[in-house]
């Protein structure tokens, strides 16, 4: 009961998906942390495109703004700060470990595929193209904002406190010993 998508849509979906996978693979195999970070940024861009294609435009923009734009930038800043740009020798574990990790990964992959046999009850399934119509009607933000400030208000508030804690923690952890005297 897959709805019929236009070829344009499908082609771009697969395109960005493949780019994401390729970038991810490149990411894990780079020796230099800077190169790896940049490949990860690329992965995130592709994912953002995928989000848009999946009628989650707001999330797509958020991905670029927050993830690629803020988090990865922080990563790069730290890499530069610690002067790790060139990558150490022997940064990866040995071949045996790689094979084992590959096996574990393939095993988990196989299990996930086995689990996709499960089907959610149809009563939960929305009618076709529901999200797209909603977006067309109210805009991309309203479908998220409504639940966020109604059902998940508590989680929202708690998350803000979490962010406060993170800020405080980061500042405390990042302080140098000498800073206590030099106010």
């Amino acid at each position: 009961m897959e709805p019929h998508y236009p070829l344009f849509y499908t082609f771009h979906f697969y395109l960005f998906g493949v780019i994401a996978l390729a970038s991810a693979l490149a990411f894990v195999t780079r020796r230099s942390p800077v190169a790896a970070a940049l490949w990860l940024v690329n992965t995130m861009f592709s994912l953002s495109a995928l989000y848009v294609l999946l009628d989650a435009q707001f999330i797509g923009v958020m991905q670029v703004l927050v993830y690629a734009g803020a988090i990865m930038v922080v990563f790069l800043f730290v890499i530069m700060l610690l002067n790790l740009g060139h990558g150490g020798i022997g940064d990866t574990r040995g071949l045996g470990w790689k094979l084992a990790a590959g096996a574990v990964g393939l095993g988990i992959l196989a299990e996930i595929f086995a689990l996709t046999k499960a089907r959610a009850p149809t009563i939960l399934t929305l009618p076709e193209g529901f999200t797209a119509r909603e977006v067309a009607q109210t805009g991309a933000i309203a479908p998220i904002a409504a639940p966020l400030f109604n059902e998940y208000l508590l989680a929202f508030e708690v998350t803000s406190i979490l962010l406060l804690a993170a800020v405080v923690g980061a500042v405390v952890l990042g302080k140098q010993r000498g800073d206590e005297h030099a106010r």
């Binding site: 574990r93 990790a101 574990v104 095993g107 988990i108 299990e111 996930i112 086995a114 689990l115």
Partner: protein
């Protein structure tokens, strides 16, 4: 008065309301004696003075003894060098110990007269007293019940009567022993258990008494346990008995599984519906007999009885002559209804009894220790009793039990007097020779005249010279056996292919041969001990004297009983008094079973019977004469100078090496397996090594594995996470 479980049942018993309602006191009095004497023995009362007389003397055989001992273990004797202190409570114990037995005996006598008044042999129903429900478990309902009928009454009288005499004798014999209260407490306990045995109303209750007397036998044989040989003898008795007990238990299991009941009346009723000679009845009887073989020292489990002579002589008299060893005979008589239903089992009993009789009689021919002669004589006479009850002549077997109790107790107590005199003599000269070896005796008739006369009475009785008691009982056994060999259910049965009558005639021949040997070895004993020149030694001779009256008195009583005990069951052919008293008395108990065996037999001709009697007397006289002619007491030398025996005599002296065979064939392998396999292999290896140490090791190992995971390395933790996810997803997917 102990409350009864069912008061006044449907049918009132003629003994209700008579002295029989005090039946419970008969065994409980000795039990009270045990408790009091036992308490007195534990109280620290004996203080060894500066000259400690308690240097351990064992049974007078001069073996090496331990120096260290508690005051209670040694057997001190009256001595000029060491003034012996009697136990502080010896006076009190001398009153309580024999006293409870006297009251018990008087009570038994009163109950006996009450029974006579209630009809005696005409009292068809047993007097059953149920005191409490002992083991109610599902279908199994065993009560603590006393079953008083003519048979148990007779046994009670024998046990309390002879027991009382032996208690009185012990007051003299053990007077200087530091373990005086302990001795009497054990002796009282023994009488208690023996009374439970004969009065018990069902097989398990009988079994309590059965095991209890085995326990007391162990305690009393090993009375002077500081000498290892004595302790070993006690152990041997107990272990060999246990083998028999196993048979008894199997028989009880079979009975319950197939009959659903274990009390005598119930089993008797259930047996009527079983086929005669069937596998079940035969099996039950054979297993019961296995118990008897152990307890009553028949082949192959007789080996403990000669060793049991390590105990004090009154113990040998009471336990190994008059009462405990007769428990097997009592059991067969009590189970007469079972045995009469199983002719093959009866054949086995008769055969084993006959072979044992002649086998041990032959060993007795060459023993030098006076008590060992009597021990083998006991085994032999027990064989006769089993011939009696095995052939279905239950009255004859029980009759011989009673007469044997009289003359064998007399013989043992007499030998006790002899040993007492020899010990006293040796102590005066500090001699360490064997006081029990006949080669050290001789010519004692001039020093112990009363004992001499009394022991000759007993010897003539056991040889079977009329008109003493042994003649009547032994002749009745052999006569009944001969009659049954001609025509009876047993004669019609088959064993190992041969007809029963063949086996019975063969057993009769063995019985005659054993009678000849009995007369011979008993006369030999008398000749070597009392006749001829004295070999004790110059210095000791002057100290030999008769035992005190407290010891000789019971001997006189027993001699009277041994002489006139035959009047209990005179045969029809010798009507010098009332005929067949015991036959009539035991009629309700065993009469039916006896008649079942000889049903349809033709009346024996008086000529044949007179002939058999004459033959028996002839054999007895021949045995005595042979001994007198062939044995020359004058040619004997004391033990320390005696030459070693040669040839077949050596074999007889060494008891056919049966003990050695048992040791090599059974004891050593069992000990080897126990030590090698069960101890080292299973206990130390499996249970300790694998179980205890192994589980500890496993725990530590698992802990070590766990600790390896806490490496502090993030990478390791990530790995563990990933593997965990794998596992959980897998479990999830598998569902």
């Amino acid at each position: 008065m102990l409350p009864l479980l069912q008061a006044a049942a449907a049918a009132a018993h003629p003994l209700d309301g008579t002295a029989a309602r005090w039946l419970w006191a008969v065994p409980l009095l000795p039990l009270a004696g045990f408790v009091i004497n036992g308490a007195l023995s534990i109280l620290p009362a004996y203080h060894a003075g500066a000259a400690d007389p308690g240097l351990a003397h064992g049974d007078g055989h001069g073996a090496a003894h331990l120096e260290t001992e508690t005051p209670d273990t040694a057997g001190a004797h009256a001595d000029d060098h060491h003034p012996v202190k009697r136990h502080r409570y010896a006076g009190l114990v001398s009153i309580i110990g024999p006293g409870v037995l006297m009251v018990s005996f008087l009570l038994s006598a009163m109950i006996f007269f009450a029974m006579r008044g209630a009809g005696g042999g005409a009292m068809t129903e047993p007097f059953i007293q149920r005191y409490f429900s002992w083991m109610p478990v599902g279908d199994l309902k065993i009560d603590a019940a006393f079953h008083l009928d003519q048979l148990s009454m007779m046994m009670t009288l024998v046990v309390t009567g002879v027991g009382m005499l032996i208690h009185i004798f012990s007051v003299g014999y053990m007077q200087d022993d530091p373990g005086y209260p302990r001795y009497f407490s054990y002796l009282n306990l023994f009488v208690f258990f023996m009374l439970l045995l004969v009065l018990g109303g069902n097989y398990p209750f009988l079994f309590i008494g059965w095991e209890g007397v085995g326990l007391c036998s162990y305690l009393l044989i090993g009375f002077w346990f500081s000498d290892k040989a004595n302790a070993d003898a006690g152990k041997k008795a107990f272990v060999v008995n246990r083998i028999g007990d196993f048979g008894f238990l199997i028989a009880m299991f079979l009975m319950f599984a197939n009959m659903g009941t274990l009390d005598f009346t119930g089993v008797r009723a259930a047996t009527q519906s079983l086929p005669v000679g069937g596998a079940l009845v035969t099996a039950i009887c054979l297993f019961l007999f296995l118990g008897c073989v152990g307890k009553s020292a028949q082949i192959p489990l007789y080996v403990w009885l000669p060793d049991a002579m390590a105990g004090p002589t009154p113990v040998s008299a009471l336990i190994h002559a008059a009462t405990m060893v007769t428990a097997g005979v009592y059991l067969v008589a009590r189970s007469s209804f079972l045995f009469s239903h199983a002719p093959v089992a009866q054949l086995v009993v008769v055969l084993v009894g006959a072979v044992t009789a002649i086998f041990s009689a032959s060993i007795g021919l060459k023993q030098w220790d006076i008590k060992k002669v009597l021990a083998y004589s006991t085994v032999s006479q027990l064989g006769y009793m089993f011939i009696g009850v095995g052939s279905g002549a239950y009255v004859a077997g029980v009759f011989h039990l009673v007469t044997h109790a009289f003359f064998k107790a007399l013989l043992f107590l007499g030998s006790g007097s002899v040993i007492y005199a020899m010990h006293a003599a040796y102590h005066h000269t500090d001699n360490h020779d064997d006081a029990q070896d006949m080669r050290n005796m001789g010519g004692l008739r001039q020093y112990l005249p009363i004992t001499f006369i009394l022991m000759w009475i007993a010897t003539l009785a056991i040889a079977g010279i009329p008109p003493l008691s042994g003649f009547f009982s032994k002749d009745e056994i052999l006569g009944s056996l001969f009659a049954r060999a001609e025509h009876s259910t047993i004669a019609s049965a088959h064993l190992f292919g041969l007809a029963g009558s063949v086996w019975l005639y063969f057993s009769w021949a063995l019985g005659l041969a054993a009678a000849f040997m009995t007369a011979t070895y008993m006369t030999r004993m008398m000749l070597y001990t009392f006749h001829g020149p004295n070999r004790t030694g110059e210095a000791e001779r002057s100290h030999l004297r008769e035992a005190p009256w407290v010891m000789t008195g019971p001997l006189v009583v027993l001699a009277i009983l041994a002489a006139f005990g035959g009047w209990l069951n005179l045969p029809e052919l010798i009507p010098i008094g009332r005929v067949g008293l015991l036959d009539h008395w035991l009629e309700p108990v065993v009469g039916e079973s006896t008649r079942f065996v000889v049903a349809g037999a033709p009346e024996a001709s008086p000529g044949l019977e007179y002939g058999l009697i004459a033959l028996a007397v002839l054999i007895a006289v021949a045995g005595i004469t042979t001994a007198i002619i062939k044995l020359k007491p004058a040619t004997l030398v004391p033990k320390r100078e005696a030459p070693q025996e040669e040839g077949f005599e050596r074999v007889l002296l060494d008891k056919y090496y049966v003990d050695e065979i048992y040791d090599d064939a059974i004891v050593k392998p069992v000990v080897g397996i126990s030590r090698g396999v069960l101890w080292r292999g299973v206990d130390a290896g499996l249970i300790d090594g694998l179980g205890v140490n192994g589980s500890a090791y496993l725990t530590r190992f698992v802990g070590w594995v766990g600790s390896q995971l806490q490496s502090g390395q993030l990478g390791t933790y990530a790995w563990v996470l990933a593997l965990g996810v794998l596992a959980v997803l897998g479990a999830f997917g598998l569902r």
